[in-house]
């Protein structure tokens, strides 16, 4: 696991677009999934002869299935609007980490096999044959994209590199070249029920332990129920919330909110994971199969509401895709969707983000806080990419920015936002999203965090900020690991419901 040494970039007082440094990150590659992991999730075990034709055929299939890919392969004019928007480019200077150049790795192949100009005048339009060298570039650079969609905000045609990265990973998986970290986790979800591979008895133990700890802390019997039929709410949360710091503090926060509001709730041992790595590898079947666990758990437990914990990509999948994938939502007209939608309470948004639930309770005056309990903290908020640019909260566009901040302001007295170009829709990825949260990509993760670290440093120095709240399990894990590289304490990062937990009156 010993990765090569690298230098942590220096934090500058203001953002500087780096000079391009060709090949600076060409060596960055994640571990390749061994055959056993690949086959467990239905992909070929390894790259075998004839992969080129199979890859091109797969690309053709995806071009017919995804309008995004088809349009985005044609529409780019190389204007460069995206060229200084990717945190991985800003952190590494490698020109292939400019979104347009990353897309062009696939666009070159698309042009060669699917367009007139590329078939007949390849040199003119930058069309290339799909060779092992090209595949090596794909492997390296499509595993240097966190699918955060920041580029898509600035593209005049809305070209979303995440769509291209997902297609590239899907094509590579289909010919036997898979990423160990992501595919191993997908295997665990199928086998055990969650990304961390926590078996049911261990989970039950943990929850019992949390009940004891919370009782010791507060003197109140706050419950952490699992598999309780007839509960009103099914809470689906990233499995990191059960075991990792600071994640677990937010889980305690959710439990206290349910307790204080008198809402009966339950976790599910079958669906003990909100994360859905099917998104990261761009595989619709995996996305759907993983989401199906939650539908099944909701049907079995007979719940009225489905609430999702603090997890960025999980909220994207839940908010944007669950209704499509497995009918968790409203407005379904087919029997498959109606079966579940008749059971769920139509007065609530399905699914609901835990922040929407808490904010709604605050609005109604159902929760009381001792804000001064958070007075030792000066807080800023890191918008997580998938929440910011691929989902919503509440009724109003942009509610995903307002609601978490309003919760923080309701439970604490000191709040300062980071610089405007680094938050809300322009937020920078933590550097570890999109299936890159693995130690074999440590250099990429540290360098990719640079733009966020610079923005953070400014509020730390200028306003004495000592806590960065966020609502994503990956952000929390990534920052815990990366903050020390930049001279910050790892306890600087935590959850929004960690703050709620501290201040709530039970």
């Amino acid at each position: 696991m010993a990765a090569a040494k690298f230098e942590t970039p220096a934090l500058k007082p203001y953002p500087v677009i780096p000079l391009i440094a060709e090949g600076a990150m060409a060596h960055s590659k994640p571990f390749v999934a061994p055959a056993k992991i690949q086959e467990a999730v239905g992909f070929p075990g390894e790259l075998t002869e004839g992969w080129e034709q199979r890859a091109v055929a797969k690309m053709g299939e995806l071009l017919d299935k995804y309008r995004s890919l088809r349009v985005y392969m044609d529409a780019c004019v190389h204007c460069g609007a995206c060229s200084d928007k990717c945190h991985y480019f800003l952190g590494t200077g490698d020109p292939k980490n400019m979104p347009v150049a990353r897309q062009d790795l696939m666009r070159g192949v698309y042009r060669r096999y699917f367009t007139f100009a590329g078939k007949h005048f390849p040199k003119l339009v930058g069309a290339v044959d799909l060779t092992k060298e090209v595949l090596d570039d794909w492997w390296s650079y499509y595993n240097q994209c966190s699918e955060c969609r920041r580029c898509s905000v600035f593209c005049p045609y809305g070209i979303d590199t995440a769509e291209v990265t997902m297609a590239a990973r899907e094509i590579m998986d289909s010919v036997g070249l898979g990423q160990k970290y992501a595919n191993e986790i997908i295997g665990k979800v199928h086998r055990i029920g969650n990304n961390l591979g926590i078996p049911e008895p261990a989970l039950a133990d943990t929850l019992a332990g949390l009940e004891e700890d919370t009782k010791d802390d507060t003197g109140v019997d706050v419950r952490f129920p699992m598999d309780e039929k007839g509960a009103e709410v099914l809470l689906v949360t990233p499995s990191a919330d059960f075991f990792s710091e600071p994640h677990v503090e937010s889980l305690i926060g959710y439990a206290k909110v349910f307790h204080a509001a008198g809402i009966s709730w339950t976790l599910s041992s079958k669906a003990s994971e909100a994360g859905n790595f099917g998104l990261f590898i761009g595989n619709y079947e995996q996305l759907r199969t993983i989401a199906l666990r939650i539908r099944e758990a909701a049907l079995e437990l007979g719940v009225k509401r489905i609430v999702v914990g603090e997890c960025g990509h999980a909220w994207r999948v839940a908010y944007s895709f669950w209704n499509t994938l497995v009918g968790i939502g409203a407005g379904g007209k087919d029997p498959f969707a109606i079966e579940l939608q008749n059971q769920l309470d139509p007065r609530h948004k399905q699914p609901t983000h835990i922040c929407e639930l808490t904010y709604d309770l605050i609005q109604r005056g159902a929760l009381k806080f001792d804000k001064e309990k958070n007075d030792d903290r000066i807080i800023t908020f890191h918008d997580s990419c998938n929440v910011a640019r691929a989902s919503r909260m509440g009724d109003m566009p942009g509610g995903q920015f307002v609601i978490p901040r309003e919760i923080i302001k309701a439970v604490a007295n000191n709040f300062h936002d980071m610089a405007p170009g680094t938050i809300c829709e322009s937020t920078f990825c933590c550097g570890g999203g999109g299936g890159l949260l693995t130690d074999d990509l440590m250099e990429l993760r540290v360098k990719g965090a640079l733009p966020r670290m610079e923005a953070l440093k400014n509020v730390v120095d200028g306003h004495g900020v000592n806590f960065m709240a966020t609502i994503c399990a990956i952000c929390k894990a990534q920052f815990s690991k990366v903050l020390p590289y930049y001279g910050f304490d790892m306890s600087l990062v935590g959850g929004v419901h960690q703050l709620v937990s501290k201040a709530i009156r039970l």
């Binding site: 088809r70 349009v71 003119l124 407005g331 969707a337």
Partner: protein
């Protein structure tokens, strides 16, 4: 003389056919390909009329590009706005009598030619001066700019330097539309101008000029943000529910 007129007439018929059929085939491809998942870049409008407004801002003002880079926006917007005026001005060569709005636009369209050339020059300069843009520029990117610039400069030359027989040109164009080939002045600047315009029409459906129709089919821009309220299903994805 007559051979020249016939040659250019055939060129324009072919170019028009390739342009219309080529773009239609591309648009049909975009329209027929399903968008299986809701992927608007948020915050996004929650209603169809909101989406129409977002798209209008994108098409008319280049909203996203404005957010991204002011230089590219200024040059790009100037070029496209000027191109629109220039195209409107040229409508008069295809109709008799000429519509009043087209008469009105003549003055603006004439001088927009300079803005168009200036915008193109600015965009091209970026391809040399900004290292990141230089890195991503392909020969075809430069050729597109060269082509548009040559069209603009040859047009300006005919208006301000060496006038061509514009009455004859109009007669030729009107003739083309009635399938009756009229003489075309053998003015080299005119022939270059017309030849390059035909070339532009021919390459349109096989080049990055597809960004124009592409924008309207971009799911991150044309989808409403309402996934919780309505079930959005592509046909190939719906089949999985029945298994």
């Amino acid at each position: 003389m007559q051979a020249l007129a016939i040659g250019y007439a055939l060129l324009f018929y072919a170019a028009t056919a390739l342009f219309v059929v080529g773009v239609a085939v591309k648009i049909r491809g975009y329209a027929r390909t399903p968008a299986p998942l809701k992927i608007p870049t948020t915050p996004a409008p929650t209603t169809t009329s909101g989406v129409a407004l977002r798209m209008t801002r994108e098409v008319v003002f280049f909203e996203s590009l404005f957010k991204s880079n002011k230089w590219t926006w200024i040059f790009g917007w100037m070029f496209h706005g000027a191109l629109l005026l220039v195209l409107l001005r040229h409508v008069r060569y295809f109709q008799e009598p000429v519509w009043t709005p087209i008469v009105f636009v003549q003055f603006f369209g004439t001088y927009a030619g300079f803005a168009m050339v200036a915008g193109l020059a600015g965009l091209w300069a970026r391809r040399f001066l900004v290292a990141r843009v230089r890195y991503i520029s392909t020969p075809s990117d430069h050729l597109h700019l060269a082509l548009l610039l040559a069209i603009g400069l040859s047009g300006l030359a005919m208006r301000f330097v060496a006038h061509t027989d514009i009455v004859a040109v109009k007669a030729f164009m009107l003739g083309l539309m009635r399938f009756s080939i009229q003489p075309l002045p053998a003015d080299p600047v005119l022939l270059v101008h017309l030849g390059l315009v035909a070339l532009l029409m021919i390459v349109f459906p096989i080049s990055k000029l597809l960004h124009a129709p592409g924008l309207f089919f971009s799911p991150t821009r044309n989808q409403a943000d309402d996934p919780r309220e309505a079930r959005h299903l592509a046909a190939w994805a719906a089949a999985m529910d029945k298994k």
